[in-house]
Symmetry: C3
Subunit: 344 residues, 3 copies
């Protein structure tokens, strides 16, 4: 009897099942320092206690994507170890900042199941929540993945496809308690453009590029205790390449977007996301954004901006997304739809 | 007169000599974060303050191997700078957890000397102790190395070969004060198998592999302030390769062993260890374990399990160790014999 | 209208202008741990709280070069984004230690301007100050860079070349409050040679070498939030090489100098510095030092030593600096002139 974790197969999931994911994690200034070393992250609110205090918070929270990666990483052994594909995200919301010293764990509820017509795989939808040491939710999101069946003969479950919001409603965004941008220091933030300066439909070329190294994406992916072997074992794929964790590209694109969106200080919601093409070591990642929507919030001086954030290994200034066939262009790595918070 | 440290040569060691190693080191959450980035480390006790508190500790200690590496690193300039070979370990015991904020230093006592028959080298045995800021021992181990003589004509010292225990007696294992596994949360730990589920003689293939990069092993080795040039200087060896610090392979194997031994939460003793073959960048490291022994302890719910932990750059599922000639197979990197603590 | 930062061009600077640089940064034990992973840094005062307390400080300060890099990194988007060359440093002084938990920001005053005769570029001199959360200066230095003009037709400003001290006067060195080397533990520091053992004119070959990897210099450079694209984007230069941040070479050389100058615990002043030749991944960096001067200080047991610290990708024992033509030899990477503090 093997003692290693074979991961769950499609027939192991049941509607309504709640999986408590293993290995809670206490985070510290160490994770923040590493995040700054791994990504060109410069958003002032997550970089400086003083800046955060001037914005009404008790200290600088950890970057919102650190929270996402820690929560996500814990789900990998239970959700995506036998995944063929990571199909999408929806209804992601950050619910509470994560502070140095917090201990984070994750749990997921199975909210949808659909066997594929080939009978060999199926799609599983889970709603994942990250919880801190007080049991308070720090974030939640829905993810769906295509998972292999262990036994192709196993009977198909009843098909349940959850009804998911295409976009998180702006009214449902959770603003961190106390956040107040009314005395915001644009000079220290590094960017003079505010919420009112961005127009729906506007596109921003974030200009800079980062060429990815094997050591860096492995350090990042391990940091989140995501140990899916495709990211680490060069003998795993026939081509000898290590597939880069999609979240590494998300963080790289978000960090690059500082140059043009430095005031989009916090990510408040993840409306949708597609890892359009795989990313490998040696690729030079660039990013561009499109303003999809804007909304007011109840917090003083805080506006919400809905952004499409695209990572590409091509020319970010060409704003390439999909071809005439409606498919992602081969150089597009990531297409993310999110809400961010910005001073009005 | 040169001011750089030439290292000690064989004739510089005297029986009973105590060497206070230089550069004490204060550790923090930063070392923990880096450890998680460098290795796929997921043992819950060293990852989560909450999990550690539920096990009777005041907080999550730093990984036991962080303690080992910090203590070991300090000895390098005095013990192994002119070493030809790292021959073995014995009687290693962890005596007290290392917490973030602790300051660690090391000292070694020379407990054995034996000149080799070629007259050019000799073997030095030292017992090394790591001490915290209160002067309390956090770990100790015996190591022996083959060291060059500066002057082949220097007289040989009296031969003293210390009598070392082949295995640390289970009764001599030091259980951290307060450790209590009676309310252990197996779900959060990530593994349902407990002490009683492991049988002596059982072998576990840890399945996963990690392909090593130069940047990663250098970051790790420097983190422990181990600056032996063979690890960093590509011009040092004729083949242009950098030899990977043996401790890097130990930590990689230990972290990989989570998959199958997630509940072996703490390493309590190092009975023996051999760096069977050198490891280089590009090697894909895998691991397998064999249960060598089991013992009860006086701490509530805590059992001890004696494990052989083998790192290999071959197929871990083949459980290869030695050939018919009694020598390590060429793909074997590490053969470690240790006691770990596990919920019964 | 572009929203990305194009950087300042020569005609954007005005004499007396004060630029508050963006993105304040709170530092922690995480930055210290990463510094130890990135460089073979072993100076005991910045490594151990206990050692630092025995030297009169409240705890171990962050390495003086961490302070420099954080302060410098913030200036890049405003000062050197369009720089053709980093021409020099002068009048650098460390004014107050940086402790874990401090929040650092930077500001620069334009103190000199000189358009080049080609009309396409000009030289800008700035005096940069790093400030902590209490507004206290932690360091200051003058740097001058050659910057492109946006519009070659823009009128030349009045030429002002600031008069800069060739060397910081020893009387002007700022000794951290409380620093006292009268009970200095040479054994724990790792070196028996004290201030009195170094002679003016003496040269020290630091012996060790480190071969540089892309992942490492990028991690380091990002850690300081220095995002100049030449360091990260392999498509930026025609030769496909990423230029290594000069500060990475400074820290590598300083860390290597431990072996021979382990007691030069703190850097107190930066008199001058030249990045003699570019450094690329694959280069093996070595270092040598020359004692340029010595001075007493008012602090108990504390002496000052003025050092030339040279980084080379050649043989450090050859002490190569310049050729007969007065130009730096091609293997020389860095020529730094600084004051350090040492036990007398």
């Amino acid at each position: 009897m093997t003692k290693t974790n074979p991961g769950r197969f499609f027939e192991d999931y049941r509607m309504g099942q709640v999986i408590r994911h293993a290995v809670p994690r206490t985070v510290s200034g160490g994770e923040r320092a590493l995040y700054h070393a791994l990504y060109p992250a410069r958003h002032a609110l997550a970089s400086s206690d003083e800046f955060a205090r001037a914005c009404g918070l008790k200290a600088a929270p950890l970057d919102d994507l650190i929270a996402f990666h820690v929560v996500f990483g814990k789900t990998v052994p239970d959700i995506s170890l036998n995944a063929v594909a990571n199909l999408g995200y929806a209804e992601g919301r950050w619910l509470r900042p994560v502070w140095p010293g917090d201990t984070i764990r994750s749990e997921s509820e199975v909210i949808g199941l659909k066997q594929n017509s080939n009978g060999k795989t199926g799609v599983v939808w889970v709603r994942t929540r990250g919880l801190n040491q007080s049991g308070e939710a720090v974030m939640e999101y829905v993810r769906w993945v295509m998972v292999r069946k262990r036994d192709p003969e196993a009977p198909a479950p009843e098909t349940v496809v959850p009804k998911l919001a295409e976009v998180v409603d702006a009214a449902g965004l959770v603003i961190p308690e106390g956040l107040n941008f009314s005395k915001y220091d644009f000079e220290l933030a590094g960017e003079s453009h505010r919420w009112g300066d961005y127009a729906i439909g506007e596109r921003i070329d974030h200009v800079d590029g980062v060429t990815i190294e094997e050591a860096e994406h492995m350090l990042a992916t391990r940091l989140w205790q995501n140990t899916a072997k495709v990211h680490f074992d060069a003998t795993n794929r026939e081509d000898g390449k290590r597939l880069i964790y999609g979240g590494h590209v998300i963080s790289m694109a978000r960090a690059l977007s500082f140059n043009g969106l430095a005031n989009a200080q916090m990510v408040a919601a993840l409306n949708a996301g597609a890892h359009a093409n795989p990313c490998f070591s040696g690729d030079t990642v660039r990013a561009w954004s499109e303003v999809l929507d804007k909304a007011e919030t109840a917090a003083p001086g805080v506006g919400a901006i809905r952004l499409r954030l695209v990572a590409t290994k091509g020319d970010s200034g060409a704003f390439v997304l999909k071809g005439e066939d409606g498919k992602y262009a081969p150089e597009v790595l990531l297409d993310l739809d999110c809400w961010a918070l910005m001073p009005v």
